[in-house]
């Protein structure tokens, strides 16, 4: 693939050398590392009054990882979008800084070194994917076996003990992984392949349920609707058995978004919303865990009024409020009051408290930029599978950010999931680095200039022959 790109570049003696964006990427990556190191130093200055002893090592570790990834992209995916890597480096760096900062108030459990280890593994896998996966269309072939693996991954945690009320971890000794995170990618690949293959059937057949000529309001036939309902039932099953509201909401959201993008039928969204609402109501009725979370969302200060002190949501809101516009400063907040999940599910509250609304919006903008690049890559690609895959991955990141941040901001009920790249959690970091690798790989294809003489060599036939 890379060689052909090089040939393509060489084969254009007349035109200007196409812009690859690699130097922009290099500058941005270095800037991202610098910002993270600066944050690390600020934590040390604010808490101890001195620069942390290992600031240079920390910076070097992050820098080497980022530059390695950059080098591999330069080598093997030179036309790739220059933004995803620096954004991922920056978000991961911010995460490490904030986790390190929270470690300082919980001397008995330090999570930053482990997180750095997982980040290294994530970057390693990112590099491996870019090196080994020459063309994303290869994945289409393994979509169904991947889905099977995903289901196994989802089911396995049932046999492991519940942690904080949810059976979503596989624990082996001191290590624990959350297989649902990895399953996310496999499922998006499967959805993309399935929908690329069946989008016409899903879009065109069906009977009209609205007395109008509007195609968008037809109910698809059972043959096509069946698998969709099956997927829905599977997720509700996972939700009930593992009580992982966040993950099931996320999967379902990704599925509905991809279904809509593939078929352009609003009815899918309507059906999705109805099914989701029904699922949530049923589960909320069956599971006290979910029920209490809805209660806490509606009345975050009820426990205070009842004289039982602040619950986690109230503590989270206190943290955000304390940050105000400009934040207390890294290391100067009190988000440790949130309790056990401060480094994972609630890490967004620490960002809000110590970096303020300004820092929080900056982080949201980083996510927005990453997501929009994902959508752009999808739109720019020509093959339906690739398009759906890129859009699905971008939507997965977007929905996950919304579900997590919305939960801790009390915008929606708290569901418990990890903030991509930032929150403590190895599975999450690794998964998101693989998503970045896939986006980089696909963007390389989408942005590669066509070889002279061939009309869009890599493009598929038009979506529908007219």
């Amino acid at each position: 693939m890379a060689t052909s790109a090089v040939t393509a570049a060489r084969g254009e003696p007349s035109g200007p050398r196409p812009r690859t964006g690699r130097n922009v990427e290099l500058v941005l990556v270095l800037a991202a590392v610098a910002i993270a190191v600066f944050g690390y130093i600020e934590v040390g200055l604010n808490i101890d009054g001195t620069v942390p002893k290992d600031a240079a090592e920390y910076g070097a570790a992050l820098g080497v990882l980022a530059l390695l990834a950059h080098g591999v992209i330069r080598w093997k995916a030179r036309y790739a979008d220059p933004l995803p890597l620096p954004i991922a480096v920056l978000l991961n760096g911010i995460g490490l800084v904030v986790i390190y900062r929270l470690d300082r108030t919980t001397p008995h459990s330090s999570a930053a070194p482990t997180q750095l280890l997982w980040s290294t593994l994530g970057v390693g896998l990112c590099i491996a994917v870019i090196l080994l996966l020459r063309d994303h269309r290869l994945l289409q072939r393994y979509a169904y076996s991947g889905a099977l693996v995903a289901l196994v991954l989802l089911v396995v945690p049932i046999f492991f003990p519940a942690v904080y009320g949810s059976r979503i971890w596989i624990t082996v000794g001191p290590f624990s992984i959350q297989p649902g995170e990895f399953a996310k990618i496999l499922l998006v690949i499967f959805f993309a392949a399935y929908l690329a293959a069946h989008r016409d059937a899903l879009a065109l057949t069906g009977r009209r349920i609205w007395p109008s000529r509007n195609q968008n309001w037809t109910l698809p036939p059972g043959r096509v609707l069946g698998p969709v309902l099956l997927v829905w039932a599977a997720f509700i099953g996972v939700l009930v058995v593992e009580t992982d509201l966040g993950m099931s909401l996320l999967y379902f959201g990704i599925f509905v978004v991809m279904l809509y993008v593939a078929t352009a039928r609003i009815s899918w969204i309507a059906i999705g919303l109805v099914l989701a609402a029904a699922g949530v109501v049923v589960v909320g009725w069956l599971s006290p865990h979910v029920h209490s979370r809805v209660d806490q969302w509606l009345h975050p200060l009820a426990s205070v009024a009842a004289g039982q002190g602040a619950n986690q949501i109230a503590q989270s809101l206190f943290a955000f409020a304390w940050g105000g516009l400009l934040g207390a400063g890294l290391g100067l907040g009190h988000s440790a009051l949130i309790g056990f999940a401060a480094k994972s599910d609630f890490i967004f509250a620490t960002i809000g408290e110590e970096l303020g609304l300004v820092g929080l919006v900056a982080v949201l903008l980083l996510y927005l930029l990453l997501i929009s690049r994902g959508f752009r890559i999808g739109i720019a690609l020509r093959d339906p599978f690739g398009r759906l895959l890129a859009i699905g991955l971008a939507a997965a990141v977007g929905l996950q950010v919304f579900v997590v941040a919305g939960g801790v901001l009390a915008l929606i009920p708290l569901t418990g999931a990890t903030l991509p790249f930032i929150a403590q959690g190895g599975s999450s970091v690794v998964t998101n680095w693989i998503i970045v690798a896939l986006l980089v790989r696909m963007s390389d294809l989408a942005r590669r200039p066509a070889p002279p003489g061939s009309a869009r060599a890599q493009s598929e036939p038009p979506e529908v022959a007219r």
Binding site: R199, D200, A203, L204, R213, N214, Q215, N216, V257, Y260, V261, A262, T263, A264, R265, V304, G309, A310, A314, L317, F318, F320, A321, W322, G323, G324, L325, L326, G329, L332, H334, L337, G352, G356, L357, L360, V361, L364, Y367, L368, S372, F375, G378, I379, P384, R387, I391, A395, G398, L399, V401, F402, A405, G406, L409, A410, L411, P462, E463, V464
Partner: protein, 505 residues
């Protein structure tokens, strides 16, 4: 929409293609992120204040104790301090002489809050008062907490020491005032307590608090400020001032038309005297004060009348529910609705009349200051941690109680009490002392141990200046066999006045 899109989109059968639906989905994600930003703005900007001040939110408390608290000073010496705790609340309050100054400082406890000066001046001490800001805008941006400021009291260390030593292990209180300014020189209450014992959050702090709360001697009650007692005969100073100011008596040595025995108006009850020397008609005011004759003073009160008696009492701080020094004193009472016999009893400090030691000190101070009652003040100066003055005490007139001429007559009466009468125990060599004793009956059928009172002022002999000190002493429930103001309270007043005279001279 379908009609419009049909044949135009590149999706199935002319439906919008992925280029369009993908864009819409992207827009949806954008909306989600915007919703997050909007919610964050709502919480961090518009609702922040409410959350910050929620009682379950520990942040304000943590911030408050993240730095040493400013100090309360007597003279230039801090009587408080701060000690690192090593806990979540970094610093806790310490007191250099907690027992001695508890009635002045109050307490600052991480669990039980702040009282008295620690409470009223909390903004300065904790650094939250906006007057401590260097540049408010910069402080808001940098979120820099101001270091705690200092509160300089008006207390005279020697007078406070004398008061506490004099009270000893009796139950009682002392309030001393500088008459010309209203500065409070001593404020003592016994039994006392050490506010440092429950300043922190440990279980030792909590049990110290519980023990103090359960103590039947009420060591945490500030008797000088927050407790009222029937003032007994010390109130005769107010009655005398009212009678003189309103022309009921013009010459203190002229006989008053008081019959003996004096029957309370509208009753058949005789107002009895403690000493037989009073048991004769037409005693003059000077003799009546010197011997503390109830019959004469009761009669003069009735002659003066309820309204004028009330007005004079209120000139000294009676019936003022908001007497803040800046710590609020309890309301001293002189009834405004009474029949004549009740007026007679009230005029000798009985019936429903009740006063804090502070207000009785104001009575002595008002007389000493030629009739001008000054607002009593406990705070001399508020300063930033670097010493810059935030606020300086300015003497304020509370009421003009009487003319200087009348005040001079009352001063003469009080001087005679100490020279020749019941207040001899307060005599100080080389000083002019004026005073009035009081022994107030109370309880059912006056069965309680009487309250021993003494109010007085003193100045160097021959000085024409305003006396530098006025003092009120009350001893409640003493174990002494001879409970009279002259026996128990006068010596304490004397030592307090000596302390002030010694330190000023």
């Amino acid at each position: 929409m379908a009609r419009r899109s049909r044949g135009r989109g590149d999706g199935p059968q002319g439906l919008p293609g992925i280029s369009i639906t993908g864009r819409r989905a992207g827009l949806f994600c954008l909306v989600l992120i915007l919703l997050l930003a909007a919610q964050a703005t709502r919480i961090q900007v518009f609702q922040a204040k409410g959350y910050d001040h929620n009682p379950a939110n520990q942040r304000l408390t943590i911030e408050r104790y993240s730095q040493p608290r400013g100090n309360i000073l007597v003279g230039d010496t801090p009587i408080t301090g701060s000690a690192p705790t090593g806990g979540r609340f970094n610093y806790k309050r310490t007191y250099t002489a907690g027992q001695q100054y508890a009635a002045v400082t109050g307490y600052s406890s991480q669990i039980y809050g702040n009282t008295q000066l620690e409470g009223t001046e909390d903004g300065i001490l904790s650094g939250t008062d906006s007057r401590l800001d260097g540049w408010a805008v910069w402080n808001a941006i940098a979120r820099k907490q101001n270091p705690g400021g200092d509160v300089y009291t008006t207390i005279n260390a020697a007078a406070q020491q004398a008061a506490m030593q004099g009270l000893g292990n009796q139950k009682g209180a002392v309030a001393a005032i500088e008459p010309s300014t209203g500065r409070i020189l001593a404020l003592a209450s016994t039994p006392s307590y050490d506010p440092g014992t429950f300043a922190g959050t440990s279980s030792a702090d909590q049990s110290a608090w519980t023990k103090l709360q359960a103590d039947s001697d009420q060591p945490m009650l500030n008797r000088a400020l927050r407790q009222t007692y029937p003032p007994g005969s010390t109130f005769k100073v107010v009655t005398a001032a009212a009678a003189l100011a309103n022309g009921v008596v013009t010459d203190i040595n002229a006989p008053t038309s008081t019959p003996y025995p004096y029957v309370l108006p509208g009753t058949t009850t005789t107002l009895v005297n403690d000493t037989s020397s009073c048991d004769q008609p037409n005693i003059d005011l000077d003799t009546a004060m010197t011997l503390s004759c109830n019959s004469v003073m009761g009669n003069l009160g009735v002659q003066t009348g309820l309204d004028k008696m009330t007005a004079m009492a209120e000139n000294f701080g009676f019936n003022d529910p908001k007497l803040d020094i800046p710590v609020r004193a309890a309301r001293s009472n002189f009834d405004t609705q009474m029949n004549q016999s009740q007026v007679a009893l009230s005029s000798i400090g009985q019936f429903d009349t009740a006063a804090t030691p502070l207000v009785m000190a104001m009575v002595a101070a008002g007389v000493a200051n030629n009739g001008t009652v000054m607002y009593p003040q406990l705070v001399d100066k508020l300063a930033k941690s670097d010493g810059d003055t935030v606020q300086l005490m300015k003497p304020r007139t509370y009421k003009q109680a009487m003319s200087p001429a009348v005040a001079g007559q009352v001063q003469q009466l009080m001087t005679d009490v100490v020279q020749n009468g019941t207040g001899r125990n307060a005599r100080i060599p080389g000083a002019t002392v004026g005073g009035k004793t009081g022994t107030a009956q109370h309880g059912v059928d006056n069965s309680g141990t009487p309250y021993a009172w003494f109010i007085s002022w003193a100045k160097p002999a021959g000085s024409s200046d305003v006396p530098p000190v006025a003092v009120a002493v009350v001893i409640a429930d003493s174990n002494a066999t001879d409970v009279t103001g002259g026996q128990l309270a006068a010596p304490i007043a004397k030592s307090v006045m000596q302390a002030v005279l010694g330190s000023t001279g």
